[in-house]
Amino acid sequence: MIGVLLQATPSPSPTPTPLGANVIGFSFLLSLMVWGPAVVALITALVPEPRGVRRLPWGLAFWTTLGVLALAMAGYSQFQSFTTGLQFEERMPWMPRLGVSYHLGVDGISMALLVLNGLVFLCAILASWEVRERGRQYFSLLLFAEAAANGVLAAQDSFLLIFFWTAGILPVALLVAGWAGARGPAAAARLLAFWGTGAATLLVAVLLLYDAAGASSFDLGTLAKPAASVTVQVLVGIALTVTAATRLPLVPAHGWIRDAAAEAPAGVAILIAGAVSRLGGYLLVRLLAGAEPSGARALAPYLGALAALTAVYGVVAALSTRDLRRLAAYLALVPGAVTVLGVAGLTPLSLDGTVMLLFGGGLAAALVVGAAITLAERAQARELGVAAGLAGRAPKLAWLLLTGCLAVLGMPFLATFPGAVMVFLGSFRTQVWAASLVAAGVVLGGMAVARLMHRVAFGAPNPDAPPPGDSSLAESWCLGVLVGALLWVGLVPSGPKLFGNPIFLDQGLVNIVNSPTADLAAPYAPPTPPSPKPSPSPSPSASPAAPSPSPSP
């Protein structure tokens, strides 16, 4: 495993084109992934449900999301590893006088996260099998959220980035408002306030960059060149940090997560914890670490402090709460904190780990939240004392919850492990205190997990509680897909190989994210020591210190 990790450090060495590359040629793959769900969402919202056809909205959403995942996998499998440029690029002018263009494209980082989005949204749809009330609205909002999340990752024009970032807010808020019970509207209002603030600060950051770059283009390629002064870079960094803090979330901008993730139905909580919130980390990697090196260096200690605060707070809150769903929501903060620690570390290794952890952390957070909600629903109780000893009656759910908890903590053989190890190895050198505190948080997290599993799963059952059922087929599939992805990436982060050739169309996540991360981390790479100049061999007479040849006896 360690060998794999060491291999994963940026090393832009060319490899042969992977199997499957260029098998499928799409010139509009990304547009299809972005606008496909949006169009189906519109159709789902508009077309009345025909009589006698049950679960039509669910079916539409499921097949659409599956299609998007298939497209993401196709793109992933034919992605050219070890190249730094954009791939699957689409560009056309939109508002040329403002410098706005419809520019989509992905590098390895975006590509990996598009696959994450596909997986998490598919799980969210599967977890929503039970949603029958206002199904058309529910699934159309869910598909709109998927379109927006994919758009954020594919956008290569900052206008488009803001467009999709903002477009994703209302669907998620309305999902929380409409399907999160009595507390839903209040939770949605909080979510709107936080995410709206984040969108506003993102706009400020982009506009500052736009102005600094000559107010002629919104293209990220132009804005990402660190041409701005240090002051502007720091201001941009602060604005981006606020944006990311509201999404990931980081303490103290976490006010929405408790209610949104703990009150929402499983499908909504899964997409929030697994996909939508990861976009905050993506933004930090892409726009702060990748584009504003001076700003990132200046803000690194504060980012580290935020990461430490979030990790410790999340774990302490998880230890002190008696509510199963909230406990899971607090635990889901931990991967985000480790992700931000990687950005604060500002070393090639920590940044590589951050990107890996965005992927693995998303899966882990989605799994732990989804499993906890499902378990609480099955037990018809959320109190730790009431929902107790469930492993006997609901073994699948108990083990899924345990896997999610272990993934959150970054256990070996799970997808979070490589990323977490790289983050800690990379950032201990530059952010000693922050890394130590986050590590302490993770250790405390182990205690929280032990308490959770002891009380809820493996302790004495509550004789007064109604007997819970195990997960349904849809729930098993939903959470099983997440576990499968966690194990797959954890076991073969550089892709399964047979005689050195990649198989199953998987080149390996590490290989996909390697080169763009190396490119992005180039300003933070330690200076290579100058190679010693070959000096002429000293003559004995010119070097008085040299021992004189002693006469042979």
Partner: protein, 465 residues
């Protein structure tokens, strides 16, 4: 330049007269609506076709330039939206309410006059025609509304008369081009600033800027739906046209009015956002969202340069369409939760209303978003960061407020469509003009390239640097 360029205005005037007569002759309601819609569409088509010819009529009393083309097209598009949305409005049920449609044409005619104005007098006449038309349309339902609105519009007319008169005296010219040369940068002084302030206060009333929002907000709350649309989108659109022409003429002495405008914009943006959060009725939500958009437009004008004004014009197009049609789509629904009934019986109208509300709140991918970003871009370029901060605060607050309204309207369980005796539930009315409005607001962003281009040409025609 051919007199043919006046054909759109002629169509609008003829349509207003014809509709007045049709109301008088008790023409059936569907024909009245159809006639109004076709007339508005014809005027828009003619404007886009003939309005591209640039030039002055003999005597330079009438100017057709790219600004006039953009402004008139925006107003006519808003009129099309209003007429389409008013399809099933209750206005048309009542004899007085039917006069709302001809009066909407009068409001647009006033705006068109202002768009082609070359003198202060023509600007004033255009503004007053639009204001009186809107107040008449809004005050038709109750005497109380008339008695409240008329004094306000009278005071506004007086303020603009004093302000415009003072400007004419100080510039020694009533021609807008003469003002540009008669008021060089060196003439910026306190008396000039006071005169400009008076004029701007008069303009701020029909524009709905805080603290002069009584006419736009309170007036539209008690008004008939079409009347509220006239007070909102159409009158505000016409007033922005007046303000753009006037401020372009005063650009050399921008120091005298930029601070006022910026302060008004900040107050409007913040207050509108707070009010959207506090609003409980959909009509109030619409009014305050619209006022917030007016704040963005004014913020764009306050940058007093080509790019800022172009952004403001670009935003205006979408705002005018959305704000003009929104009250008609809301109809007589009193509380947001009552919109659930609308969703159940008229899903097409409910969907249109949802899109309009999102556009007014600046949510992508609808028209308001593009305009707001364009204005925000120019604000940061001009260094007006505090105005931008107020705008973003207002935007976030609007989003929060709108979230509550949308939840109440679209996500709470509504009653089933009324059961008809022995024939099952009543059919749902999917086809509605609101869908057309929603499509217009979606298309505005998708076709931003030519529209924004035309807005830039419009601002260039104003002679802005």
């Amino acid at each position: 330049m051919s007199l043919l360029v006046l054909l759109p205005e002629l169509v609008v005037a003829a349509a207003a007269t014809g509709l007045f007569l049709a109301v008088r002759l008790r023409v059936p309601r569907p024909w009245l609506r159809l006639g109004a819609f076709l007339a508005a569409l014809a005027a828009l088509g003619l404007e886009l076709w003939l309005g591209a010819a640039v030039g002055d009529l003999p005597g330079s009393v009438w100017r057709q330039d790219r600004f006039a083309l953009f402004a008139k097209a925006a107003l006519l598009l808003a009129l099309v939206g209003l007429v389409a949305a008013a399809e099933d409005g209750v206005d048309l049920e009542e004899p007085w309410g039917r006069l709302g449609l001809p009066l909407a044409f009068v409001v647009v005619l006033g705006g068109m006059v202002a768009a082609s104005a070359t003198t202060l007098v023509a600007l004033w006449i255009g503004l007053q025609a639009a204001s009186l038309g809107a107040v008449a349309a809004a005050g038709l339902t109750t005497r109380d509304a008339r008695s409240r609105l008329l004094p306000v519009v009278g005071v506004a007319a007086g303020l603009t008369a004093v302000g415009f008169g003072g400007l004419g005296v100080m510039a020694r010219s009533v021609w807008l081009s003469g003002m540009q040369s008669g008021l060089p940068a060196t003439s910026a002084s306190l008396p000039l600033a006071v005169v400009v302030l008076i004029g701007l206060a008069g303009i701020a009333v029909p524009l709905g800027l805080v603290p002069f929002h009584r006419l736009t907000v309170e007036g539209s709350l008690g008004a008939a739906p079409v009347g509220a649309g006239c007070l909102g989108g159409l009158l505000v659109g016409g007033t922005v046209v007046v303000a753009s022409r006037l401020l372009a003429a005063l650009n050399a002495v921008a120091a005298t009015w930029t601070p006022w405008l910026a302060i008004l914009a900040v107050a409007t943006l913040v207050m509108a956002g707070l009010s959207v959060v506090a609003a409980r009725s959909p009509r109030a939500v619409v009014s305050w969202l619209g006022v917030g958009q007016a704040g963005w437009v004014v913020a764009g004008l306050a940058t007093h340069d080509l790019r800022g004004s172009a952004a403001a014009l670009f935003l205006l197009g979408g705002v005018a369409v959305a704000w003009a049609s929104a009250p008609a789509l809301v109809g007589t629904v009193e509380m947001s939760r009552d919109l659930a009934r609308l969703r159940s019986s008229q899903p097409g109208r409910a969907l249109g209303l949802g899109l309009v509300l999102l556009a007014l709140a600046g949510v992508p991918p609808l028209a308001g978003f593009y305009g707001e970003i364009a204005v925000a871009t120019e604000l940061i370029r001009s260094g007006m960061v505090w105005v931008l901060a107020a705008g973003l605060l207002g935007w976030v607050l609007s989003l929060v407020g709108l979230g509550g309204s949308l939840h109440a309207a679209y996500l709470q369980s509504g009653p089933r469509p009324a059961e008809r005796r022995g024939r099952g539930p009543a059919p749902r009315a999917w086809v509605h003009g609101g869908l057309l409005v929603g499509a217009l607001l979606l298309a505005y962003g998708l076709f931003a390239l030519p529209i924004h281009d035309l807005a830039v040409q419009g601002a260039t025609a104003l002679g802005l640097p």
